[in-house]
């Protein structure tokens, strides 16, 4: 079955990764664990950490500002801003309105924050893509998180920090140019309690061994297969593929199960360098692909959020991608600018140690 193409443009993209990192080895040293065992079992080397004065909102603003620079549009053309995050500084008060004020968007705006664990960012994308499609306007979708893991919990070894923003439009505004086109999207969602955080709790809980086969793999694979079936594509049709990366192992296994080659993961696979950036995770991979791809290349992105669900997107780069990538910091540049923290400083940065 071939569905009608959406043909919604990506006008701009922007990522933000804080400069601080902690090495997996340093966390292991704190808890007396074997570093090589943890590095190997998670497939991670280091994770990104916020500065003391950063949170998911400041990340979101920085990413949005870069996306606006690349889109080369006036921010008052934006008619929708949706932010996916599970680490908002306020329980009630949207991040989206702070972003709107900071980028000088108009007040005539559809906006909200979304929560769906690590899938909230791609759900923001879906809403914005559909918003642009229906209203023929420009929209801004953001995934931003500064994720928390309980001290010594497996999540502490993988929870990273970062944000990413995409600007969509149906048609191309005057003086703007398209970087890529979203052709199709497909979602797959079931009620699966693999990871959660209860009201009022600081740290999330997870169902240990339950996070793999019935959770991550089931949804990621069904969404990818569902999309490719609907569109009529095969893994070999894609130049680039990016999966949600809760660790450095799952995405490689998902790729293998689906029949993708490791080479197709080249630009989007970043987990080993920054950890799991939650709602920003797969989308930062997409940003990195746009930083590197040639025009006319096909991209498949599949997110995953616990709870659980996956969103899959079929996209194609366009001419504008090459010029635009020079207009804001690239993902790999953000990754390479780093300062390492000791566990003590890391604990302060993450608010685990309240002064």
């Amino acid at each position: 079955m071939m569905t009608k193409k959406l043909e919604v443009n990506i006008l701009g993209w922007g990522a933000y990764i804080p400069i601080y990192r902690i090495k997996i080895d340093e966390i292991c040293l704190e808890w007396g664990e074997d570093p090589s065992r943890w590095r190997k079992s998670l497939g991670l080397n280091e994770i990104s950490v916020p500065a003391l004065d950063e949170d998911s909102t400041t990340f979101a603003v920085e990413a949005a500002r870069s996306a606006v620079k690349r889109a080369q549009i006036s921010p008052n053309l934006i008619t929708a801003i949706y932010v996916g995050t599970e680490s908002k500084p306020y329980a009630v008060k949207p991040t989206a309105t702070i972003v709107a004020a900071a980028i000088n968007a108009s007040a005539r705006l559809s906006s909200a924050d979304l929560e769906f664990a690590c899938k909230a960012g791609t759900e923001a994308m879906r809403i914005c893509i559909d918003h642009s499609l229906v209203n023929k306007t420009v929209s801004l979708a953001i995934g931003a998180d500064s994720a928390q893991g309980k001290p010594r919990d497996a999540l502490e070894y993988s929870a990273g920090a970062g944000a990413v923003a995409f600007i969509f439009s149906k048609g191309v505004p005057k003086h703007a140019e398209s970087a890529a086109m979203v052709l199709h999207h497909f979602s797959y969602v079931t009620d699966t309690p693999d990871f959660w955080r209860c009201n009022g709790r600081k740290y999330p809980s997870h169902a240990e061994r339950f996070t793999g086969a019935p959770a991550y793999f089931k949804h990621t694979i069904n969404a990818a297969k569902g999309l490719m079936e609907e569109v009529g594509t095969r893994p070999s049709d894609y130049d680039h593929v990016v999966f949600h990366q809760p660790n450095g192992k799952f995405p490689l296994k998902a790729a293998k199960i689906l029949g993708f080659d490791i080479k197709q993961l080249k630009y989007g696979f970043l987990a080993d360098k920054i950890g799991n950036t939650y709602a920003a995770n797969a989308m930062i991979g997409l940003a990195s692909i746009l930083d590197n791809a040639n025009p006319g290349e096909k991209i498949l992105m599949v997110s995953y959020g616990s709870g659980a669900g996956s969103d899959a997107f079929d996209m194609m780069t366009r001419e504008g991608v090459q010029v635009k990538r020079e207009l804001a910091p690239k993902v790999l540049d953000l990754i390479s600018k780093k300062k390492y923290l000791t566990y003590g400083l890391y604990a302060k940065h993450k608010g685990k140690l309240i002064m």
Partner: protein, 142 residues
């Protein structure tokens, strides 16, 4: 820095988040933070809003240590140690005072190029007060 009420914070969001200044219609002076009477000609109160680039140069700086941190920044000093406050000359002319991030005190130098970034300045009455700080353009990470 003195107490800033929530209504005053809300009113000053454009200057705090976006560096919106006021350009004097009489003499062209760019007033930042916005003023009632132009700082340039000292007579005009007719302005147009301008968005500053957020790029500038360090004109002077000082390192704030424990005893010198004002109350709203004492929590920051306790967690992060001493921090740099700089007098920054913006490319559009105004000189403003702001914290410098991504740079150790010993690596700061006069004439260093900096650009604005959004950060949590402090929290009061349960409201996070976001605003600008500055970071080196070529982030010296030594």
């Amino acid at each position: 820095m003195a107490y800033v009420s929530i209504p005053l914070y809300k009113r000053t969001i454009p200057q705090r988040y976006k560096l919106i200044g006021l350009k004097c219609k009489r003499c062209g002076w760019i007033n930042f933070p916005p003023k009632g009477i132009c700082k340039g000609c000292k007579v005009s109160s007719e302005f147009e809003k301008v968005k500053l680039s957020g790029k500038g140069t360090i004109y002077s700086y000082t390192v704030i240590t424990a005893a010198a941190a004002p109350p709203e920044f004492s929590k920051q000093e306790k967690s992060g140690g001493s921090y740099v406050v700089a007098l920054i000359e913006l490319d559009e002319g105004p000189r403003i005072v702001a914290q410098l991030v991504n740079c150790k005190p010993e690596n700061v130098r006069i004439g260093m190029r900096v650009e604005s970034t959004i950060r949590k300045i402090y929290e009061d009455e349960g409201v996070v007060r976001y605003g600008f700080k500055f970071k080196p353009v070529e982030e010296s990470l030594k």
